[in-house]
């Protein structure tokens, strides 16, 4: 029997809301898939589109971006609004690269929403698992040759 595909997912989360939620989920012993690896930044407004593309280029099968709920939750007043405006552009860019939109999730999880974080990681992992490997890294390398 073939081994089940385990997707590799990178989550860029802000320090104040989603990272706190993920931390709470861990402290509350909620079950989370081991497929999601977190990279913490101070604010979702710090997340450059380059990071997302780079993650796919290095072999990630899915990427999550999550920050504080608009309008008022952002620790830095309005960093989440910048995310709100940048991420739709990233979506378009990914479509142009032929990356399925189901491989990229962006949204908001507050520090109190540990359950939502656990749910998201479960659902997103299964969603990406269903799509199969992206293999963007191999594809890029084959084009370089």
């Amino acid at each position: 029997m073939a081994e089940e595909f385990e997707p590799r997912i990178i989550a860029f989360v802000c320090n104040w809301c989603t990272y706190t939620a993920a931390d709470n989920a861990g402290v509350s012993r909620m079950e989370q898939p081991p497929n999601v690896d977190i990279i913490r930044v101070m604010c979702s407004g710090r997340i450059e589109p380059t990071f997302i593309l780079k993650a796919f280029a290095l072999g990630a099968d899915g990427v999550i971006v999550s920050g504080c709920h608009p309008p008022g939750d952002c620790h830095y007043t309005n960093g989440n609004f910048k995310t709100f405006r940048r991420m739709p552009l990233v979506e378009q860019l990914l479509a142009q690269f032929g990356i399925e939109k189901e491989r990229f999730h962006w949204g908001w999880i507050s520090g109190a929403e540990a359950v939502k974080w656990a749910q998201l990681t479960h659902e997103f992992t299964e969603q990406v698992r269903a799509l199969g490997p992206l293999n963007w890294k191999q594809e890029l390398e084959s084009k370089e040759d």
């Binding site: 990279i39 930044v41 710090r46 780079k54 993650a55 830095y76 007043t77 910048k82």
Partner: protein, 453 residues
């Protein structure tokens, strides 16, 4: 307030508002607009002769009496208990200032000739080291929930109006009377008007249970009327509060567990209250002479403007966001700006006093240290790479980046920068680095995480 007004180190600027704030911790520049009060405060003795002489006899609703009485255009705020005890002329109501037609009897009546209609608004520039925001709250307007019929009968009042009725300086000199001038025989008190309600505010307004119990006690004490309290839960959270609840229970108040659902004014003016008694599982309907709607505390309508003025954020409920809900409850995320009282969340008097005292001592401690410790996670501009495009300047939520004209580059003020990194992500020349969260560090994390299995 009296003590603050008398203190040699405290300057009170009343009838004033902050219109501009710039700078950073230890070095704020604040511009204050002081409205003209048309009275020279150094001459006014607060005798009230101008108010008596004011020819605008009909007057306007008196804010201090929650609109239950009327005041004239010249008046001493708070029914003559204002600090400082000085008269003011309301330029919206004053016939001379708004319409240009008046005998100006107040000018003659003033024994010290303190009235001066030529006063103009003035701006005061202050240089301060710390700021405490204590802008308070507004009461929920029960008109927003039409089921309570507020405004349809003078005997349906909110908690603040009842407070004025029961106050010795209020419109009835402390007597609790219905609109027919009689003592009420049955009074309904409805809790959670505008709080714990998805149609208004989801949060618990915290103080209403206790002031509702106080109102029940006052009604029982002053009129002997039957009192029905419609409540969902009684939240007697503070020291001695539970004991007070028990005392009010002992005074014969009827507690009906269930949200007051509807207040109906019948054609003949009688008032009915409908609710569900969830303990019995039965709907109840009673006829009363007076309804007191215990309304929630809300963030003031202009709190968004105040928040952006001082660079502080707001929580989902609209109140100002503290830096940490448990450990830094009176700090904001803007260094040097502190919160005191109900502008942060609904609070009762003891909690407000404690909160304000803590904010004041933190501000004094900050000033007496003479230096500040800042977080090392700030952004820094590589001036060799910066092209001077100014993209970052508009993005910064703290106005921490300024443009250096001589060098043609942007520069980050590290005392203001909080290290969010928005500018770093946006810089087209990649000239800005976020310390501890640099592109190289994040990409190295990525590479390490995605090492081929």
């Amino acid at each position: 307030m009296m003590d603050a007004g008398r203190h040699p180190n405290i300057t009170l600027l009343t009838y004033s508002e902050v219109v501009e704030v710039s700078g950073y911790v230890g070095n704020f520049q604040v511009r204050v607009r002081q409205r003209p009060r048309y009275v020279h405060t150094d001459l006014c003795t607060g005798c009230g002769a101008c108010a008596e002489a004011c020819v605008f006899k009909r007057g306007v609703p008196n804010e201090y009496d929650a609109g239950l009485s009327r005041r004239r255009a010249a008046y001493i705020p708070m029914n003559g208990q204002a600090v400082p005890l000085k008269a003011v002329i309301d330029d919206q109501a004053c016939l001379f200032l708004s319409k240009g037609k008046c005998t100006q009897a107040c000018l003659e009546a003033c024994p010290t000739r303190a009235i001066d209609f030529s006063q103009k608004e003035r701006f005061i520039d202050l240089n301060v080291g710390a700021i405490i925001v204590a802008t308070g709250f507004e009461m929920f307007d029960p008109r927003r929930l039409p089921a309570f019929s507020y405004g349809k009968s003078p005997d349906i009042m909110d908690g603040l109006q009842f407070e004025r009725f029961s106050s010795a300086t209020g419109p009835t000199r402390g007597e609790i009377l219905t609109s027919r001038g009689e003592k009420p025989k049955r009074v309904a008190i409805i809790h959670c008007v505008g709080s714990r309600d998805e149609h208004a505010n989801r949060y618990c307004s915290r103080v209403c249970c206790m002031y509702a119990l106080k109102h029940a006690h006052l009604v029982r004490d002053k009129t002997g009327a039957e009192v029905f309290e419609f409540y969902m839960d009684i939240r007697a959270f503070g020291k001695d509060y539970e004991e007070f609840y028990e005392r009010v229970q002992g005074e014969g108040v009827y507690f009906v567990r269930g949200r007051g659902a509807e207040v109906i004014v019948l054609d003949d003016g009688r008032i009915q209250v409908k609710a569900e008694n969830t303990n019995l599982g039965l709907p109840v309907q009673i006829e009363v002479d007076m309804v007191i709607l215990e309304t929630a505390m809300e963030a003031p309508r202009d709190s968004d403007k105040v928040a952006s003025l001082f660079g502080i954020s707001r929580s989902a409920s609209g109140f100002f966001q503290e830096a940490h809900p448990k450990l830094r409850p009176f700090h904001t995320n803007t260094e040097g700006v502190f919160l005191a009282g109900a502008c942060q969340a609904p609070k009762d008097v003891p909690d407000t006093v404690a909160h304000a005292g803590a904010a004041a001592s933190e501000a004094l401690a900050l000033l007496s240290r003479g230096q500040v410790v800042i977080s090392p996670t700030t952004a820094v501009v590589d001036e060799q790479l910066c092209s001077g495009c100014k993209t970052c300047i508009v993005l910064c939520p703290y106005s921490a980046i300024s443009f250096v004209e001589d060098a043609g580059v942007a520069r980050v003020n590290e005392a203001l920068c909080k290290g969010c990194g928005t500018c770093v992500a946006a810089c087209p020349a990649e000239a800005i680095t976020a310390r501890h969260f640099s592109d190289r560090q994040i990409l190295a994390e990525l590479e390490a995480l995605l090492v081929p299995a």
